[in-house]
């Protein structure tokens, strides 16, 4: 009966490949340009890219200053 299982699996694979073969694809030039554009649009609001001002950094330890 494993032959039947193999055939069932092979049928499923063909079905799946048919679905994937049928999709619309856009050109890589357009895809890459859109990704670049997204990065550029959001760059100035990306804290890890532009840095976080100390006064607004929630993770920075607030140590008291000691005047010696």
């Amino acid at each position: 009966m494993s032959t039947n299982n193999n055939i069932a699996q092979a049928r499923k694979l063909v079905e799946q490949l048919r679905i994937e073969a049928g999709i619309e694809r856009i050109k890589v030039s357009k895809a890459a340009a859109d990704l670049m554009s997204y990065c550029e649009q959001h760059a100035r609001n990306d804290p890890l890219l532009v840095g976080v001002p100390t006064s607004e950094n929630p993770f920075k330890d607030k140590k008291p200053c000691i005047i010696l």
Binding site: L17, I19, R25, D46
Partner: protein, 338 residues
């Protein structure tokens, strides 16, 4: 010709058709397109906090949607929920099974999930008087490698049994089973619009799924070993995968193919984890070699490194507000950087 032979011939024909269609739209490279953009600055992040409390290897972490709390899982048998602003532990959830491989927090902050070699996904309400297990999701036939809540009543899981699953938390039953991978599913990530999700598996492929109808829409190949980590680019139109083959790849969903690769001849450690900065420009990748490399997603150049762990970086995450990045390690510590 027997039916198996016919089917094999048809499958091979379709694979060739797909490759041809991909080549037909492959009119340039990301490197060429990105040559016009300024290089990302050298990124030097400081370790702002080290969260100490786990007693064994950390296997997973997940930021709360409130950008302040975080859940981490360790094979010391505990989930810890942290207030990352103070570094304090807010809740400790003891686990029935210490062989945990992943954890996640619901967007509401009310629930956390964990699972691993027990093949189960255990859901705990941390807002109850004391943390209370409300569900044990028990139908996977292999280890639980990853989970993500859609909301307080639905969760996605990925399993070593090669399937992913959407569960109804009211009933504790499987709603949708996603079957197509032929190797252990190691990771998953939800699209920003929550209509689709992506999975990475030990069959070296990543797959895009329709959450509601269970159908696999696209399959991305090219890696030569297990895909351990996967993330969406913030626009939702591309994905990044990290693999035991020591590389990361960016696949564009609309071009249906690999558009960028992140590798270094000197790097011979597998990628364990991946997370992106809020603009998508920076890719943070944790490796088996104790480091986390920072890549320029467009130019595919290394722009920084986070070093400080004494063992493998097993998990990484950037909170929704993008204000920092957390790394979790087998050295039992979590570190927050910005």
């Amino acid at each position: 010709m027997g039916e198996m032979d016919t089917l094999k011939k048809e499958a091979d024909g379709l694979k060739t058709q797909i490759e041809t269609a991909r080549k037909a739209v492959n009119d340039t490279t990301m490197a060429a397109v990105a040559s016009g953009v300024a290089a990302a600055p050298r990124i030097q992040l400081k370790n702002r906090k080290t969260l100490k409390g786990h007693l064994a290897k950390i296997y997973g972490l997940h930021w709360s949607a409130d950008n302040r709390h975080m859940v981490s899982a360790s094979q010391d048998g505990k989930l810890l929920i942290w207030d990352t602003y103070t570094g304090n532990k807010v809740y400790a959830v003891p686990l029935k099974s210490s062989w945990v491989m992943s954890c996640s927090m619901a967007p509401s902050g009310n629930l956390v999930a964990s699972g691993g070699l027990d093949n189960m996904c255990t859901i705990v309400n941390i807002k109850a008087a004391s943390p209370k297990t409300i569900r044990e999701l028990d139908a996977h036939e292999g280890y639980l490698s990853h989970s993500r809540f859609l909301n307080d009543s639905e969760i996605l899981t990925a399993s070593g049994d090669t399937t992913c699953c959407l569960w109804d938390l009211e009933t504790g039953k499987q709603k949708v089973v996603y079957k197509s991978h032929v190797g252990d599913c190691m990771c998953l990530a939800m699209s920003p619009d929550q209509n689709t999700f992506i999975s990475g598996a030990c069959d070296s492929s990543a797959k895009l799924w329709d959450i509601r109808d269970g159908g696999c829409k696209q399959t991305f190949i090219g890696h030569t070993s297990d895909i351990n980590a996967i993330a969406f680019f913030p626009s939702g139109t591309a994905i990044i995968t990290g693999s035991d083959d020591c590389t990361l790849k960016m696949y564009d969903l609309r071009a249906d193919q690999e558009v960028n690769g992140y590798q270094d001849a000197a790097l011979n450690a597998g990628v364990t984890s991946v997370s992106l900065s809020s603009s998508g420009r920076l890719v943070f990748a944790g490796y088996d070699n104790f480091n986390c490399n920072i890549w320029d997603s467009l130019k595919a150049e290394k722009v920084g490194v986070l070093s400080g762990h004494d063992n493998r970086v097993s998990c990484i995450g950037v909170p929704d507000d993008g204000l920092g990045i957390c790394t979790g390690s087998w050295d039992s510590f979590l570190k927050i950087w910005n």
